[in-house]
């Protein structure tokens, strides 16, 4: 008997439950769809465009720093470039990247649900995201902002038009953009929490959720609890600039350090909105490509929730030298170190998962392993910054820039791209060329390390961040870093070409190309509109390779490295017998 069985489900008359969700054509069929997979794909396209845009800003920033003094642009343009890089990457790309794009596509399938709990709300989130993005574009067309993505007051709030001392750039549309996109994030979070709680298929207990689902669940909690504080902060900031409130602007009786508290109350947990889903992706990939349940399943799941909780308690480490009281500094430093525990637990368990596994180094696995390596470095350099005395030296230098890029790019982007490789066959129905995927991975991995290791060194040698110009002793590091950014950019270019080629003329993907036991691989590729031909009932865990049948694991499985592994062609799976449910 199959371990994952299906039950005769209810279907709508107007939808053929067996037809692929991609079948309907036409722009309108996408714009008004309530199908989570289609919404997810629209998110995916949007965040990819944002990633390209942010990437171009990043390359321009690096190119400007190639030589001392002016290379390409003047200081104001440079300041706008790095600000826009930050704003676009954080609010338009990385926050919605894994949860809203990939989570939307995969989460309901992994839950055995037909859709998320609130499909209309899901579509509304996407439209809110687009609406916010329009504000962002409007600001960019109006010259952009030069405040950095943090919008620190009073530089951002004190408008020279009213005799202030801050920037004259188009701050209000940009803060409104982030404000609006925040609601998109909140609504996605609300949706996912309700979905995980209420939409699980029969037999899918909490202990049988995938770790990706656990990660998204933890992320959703942060999105719901932290993002509203960003919303009110940016609203106050907008009003401060517009009406001169006097809450954050010292010349009006406000306190700029208070702004930093408000901002980081969201933006530190936001770091976990970014990284925790990446960890979830990696856990799933590791399980599939080592072909076993991750070691310490509950520990990994619990550490996701632990990170979500701890993320709220440590925001003050962004304020160690900002003029905060020493007592607050002490508490925040102590709590900051606690973050190391769940992070460490995850890394140890991932490594242990490989032990006695059956490891296949296909491209998703390469990204997952890179994640572990880069995240380890990103996490350990976090310890430097958590140590108060050392932070005083390293704060606001390139060391910090390199640290959070190791976490955000080395972590989240690796997880995102890895997940894209991993689930690509499922939602597009096409395979990509493995060899090109490896070439792309190689350049990204090398380029990334070259770019940011140079930044670690110049940072610890005192190079402050957000500098248009620099002293001669830092030139060599900047040049290495810029050189690395070109390799990195080239790597992403290769990947993009590879994915586009796959869409144009990729081989049709089988149901389960990786031989994974998880639920999303037990439905046709690409899945039907309601995800499953018949409603699934789970009788085993999603990582249970012992109870999974050969049918489930090997239909369509074709490991290019080990063609003989499958041991004979498995028969195409028939609709499973009913009977053990009712």
């Amino acid at each position: 008997m199959a371990a994952i069985t299906t039950t005769p489900g209810a279907h709508h008359d107007d939808v053929d439950p067996n037809a692929s969700f991609l079948e309907k054509k036409g722009l309108m069929s996408w714009l008004v769809t309530l199908d989570h997979k289609r919404i997810g794909i629209m998110y995916l396209i949007s965040v990819t465009i944002a990633f390209l845009l942010g990437g171009i800003f990043a390359l321009l920033v690096r190119a400007e720093l190639l030589t001392q003094g002016k290379t390409l642009m003047d200081a104001d343009t440079y300041n706008k470039m790095f600000s826009l890089h930050g704003v676009v990457m954080v609010f338009l790309f990385i926050i919605p990247s894994i949860p809203a794009a990939m989570g939307n596509i995969i989460l309901p399938i992994q839950l055995g649900a037909k859709d998320v709990a609130f499909p209309k709300l899901n579509l509304l989130s996407l439209y809110i995201y687009w609406f916010g993005a329009c504000f962002g574009l409007y600001s960019m067309i109006n010259g952009g902002v030069d405040t950095g993505w943090t919008f620190y007051t009073p530089y951002s709030s004190s408008d020279p038009a009213h005799g202030g001392v801050g920037t004259a750039t188009s701050v209000i549309p940009m803060t409104l953009a982030a404000f609006i996109m925040g609601f998109s994030s909140i609504l996605t979070g609300v949706n996912f929490i309700a979905t995980v709680h209420k939409m699980r298929a029969p037999g899918l207990t909490w202990r049988r959720l995938t770790l990706f689902t656990w990660a998204l669940y933890a992320t959703s909690i942060i999105q719901v609890l932290a993002t509203p504080v960003l919303a009110i902060t940016l609203l106050l900031l907008t009003m401060e600039r517009f009406l001169g409130l006097g809450i954050f602007d010292p010349r009006l009786g406000g306190d700029p350090v208070l702004y930093q508290h408000f901002f980081w109350f969201y933006s530190h947990p936001a770091v976990y909105i970014m990284i925790v889903p990446g960890m979830g992706v990696v856990s799933d990939i590791l399980a599939s490509f080592s072909r076993r349940e991750p070691v310490g399943y509950m520990a990994i799941a619990a550490s996701s929730l632990g990170l979500a909780l701890l993320g709220f308690l440590v925001w003050g480490h962004h304020l160690f030298v900002a003029g905060m009281s020493e007592y607050a500094t002490m508490v925040f430093s102590a709590l900051t170190f606690l973050v190391a525990i769940p992070s460490g637990v995850k890394v140890f368990n991932w490594v242990a998962t490989l032990y006695k596994g059956s490891i296949s180094l296909q491209s998703p696995m390469l990204w997952a392993l890179s994640f572990i390596f880069l995240f380890t470095i990103g996490g350990l350099t976090g310890l430097f910054l958590g140590m108060l005395a050392v932070d005083v030296h390293l704060h606001d230098t390139y060391f910090v820039v390199a640290h959070f890029h190791y976490v955000m790019v080395g972590g989240t982007v690796m997880g995102f791209v890895g997940g894209l490789h991993y689930w690509w066959p499922k939602f597009t129905g096409k395979m990509y060329e493995e060899s090109w995927a490896r070439v792309g991975w190689f350049f990204v991995f090398i380029g990334f390390n070259v770019t940011f290791i140079a930044q670690f060194i110049m940072g610890s040698r005192g190079m402050p961040r957000r500098y248009y110009d620099y002293l001669p002793q830092y030139e060599i590091f900047h040049q290495v870093s810029t050189f690395g950014s070109w390799i990195l950019g080239f790597g992403f270019l290769v990947l993009m070409v590879m994915f586009i080629r796959s869409l144009m003329n990729g081989k049709p993907a089988p149901r389960n190309p990786w031989g994974s036991a998880a639920l999303e691989w037990q439905t046709p590729t690409p899945p039907p509109t309601f995800n499953f031909v018949k409603d699934p009932v789970l009788t085993r865990g999603q990582y249970d390779y012992q109870l999974a049948t050969d049918d489930e694991l090997y239909e369509g499985f074709d490991d290019p490295l080990f063609p003989g592994l499958r041991g004979g062609k498995a028969p195409v799976k028939k609709a499973a017998a009913e009977g053990d449910h009712g």
Binding site: A10, V190, M199
Partner: protein, 236 residues
């Protein structure tokens, strides 16, 4: 005092023609209970984010009140306790009628539900009208946020303590808190009208009253925030 309502699930039973339960049961839910629980859970999560949204303003309030206690006392003398108190009672009453609307809906009394919703909307409007008069007075007196704070002595409350120079910060917080709350009231009126129309169309029944319940939850939250705003701003 209370009784357990049992929604009739008869309509939900599958038949063999691929028809999936009652009309109001969305295709991706299996049972009415699942749909109801999901909606309630989603709404509570949403309310949690609403509270966090307001919390920023409350923290700003806490910080400034503790930095400038005298300024807060002086400034709050400029607010009208009578108007604020009346508004409190109006909102509490609207909360009561919203709860009654849910009760009527749960019992399947369509007419009573509609009437209770209308009373709730009416109270919300009264609240806004009173707020309008309060705001107008502040504008006349120059009791405005931050940069625009230019009090006109002749419009101030007689005999109240003198206003320190940085009182603009108090009025920034006052206008942000009551303003953001007011926006919630306006949105509340919108969604109340929406469910009033749906109720008139007869969309709700003993078995399906979720939207009424959800909107009422939102409305109670608006009340909840005001319960704190009133004493913190008016009664210092």
């Amino acid at each position: 005092m209370s009784s357990e309502a049992t929604a009739n699930a008869e309509e939900h039973a599958h038949d063999d023609h691929g028809h999936h339960g009652p009309k109001w049961l969305a295709h991706h839910f299996d049972t009415p209970a699942q749909q109801f629980d999901a909606a309630k859970l989603g709404m509570w999560v949403f309310l949690a984010q609403e509270l966090l949204f307001f919390s920023g303003l409350f923290v700003a309030y806490g910080v400034y009140r503790s930095w400038y206690p005298e300024m807060f006392v002086a400034a709050s003398h400029q607010l009208d306790k009578i108007m604020g108190g009346t508004n409190t009672i109006v909102l509490l009453f609207s909360s009561f009628t919203a709860a009654m609307a849910v009760r009527s809906s749960q019992l399947g009394k369509q007419k009573a539900t509609g009437n209770y919703i209308l009373i709730t909307i009416f109270c919300a409007c009264v609240f806004l009208v009173i707020k309008y008069f309060e705001y107008t007075h502040k504008f006349h007196a120059g009791l405005l946020p931050g940069r625009f704070f230019h009090p006109h002595a002749e419009h101030l409350v007689a005999g109240a303590p003198a206003l320190p120079a940085n009182t603009g910060s108090f009025f920034s917080i006052y206008f942000m808190m009551t303003g953001v709350h007011g926006v919630h009231v306006v949105i509340g009126i919108g969604v109340l009208i929406w469910i009033w129309i749906r109720n008139n169309r007869g969309e709700f029944s003993k078995e399906f009253f979720t939207p009424v319940d959800i909107v009422a939850l939102y409305w109670h939250l608006v009340d909840l925030v005001w319960i704190y705003l009133f004493p913190l701003l008016y009664l210092i």
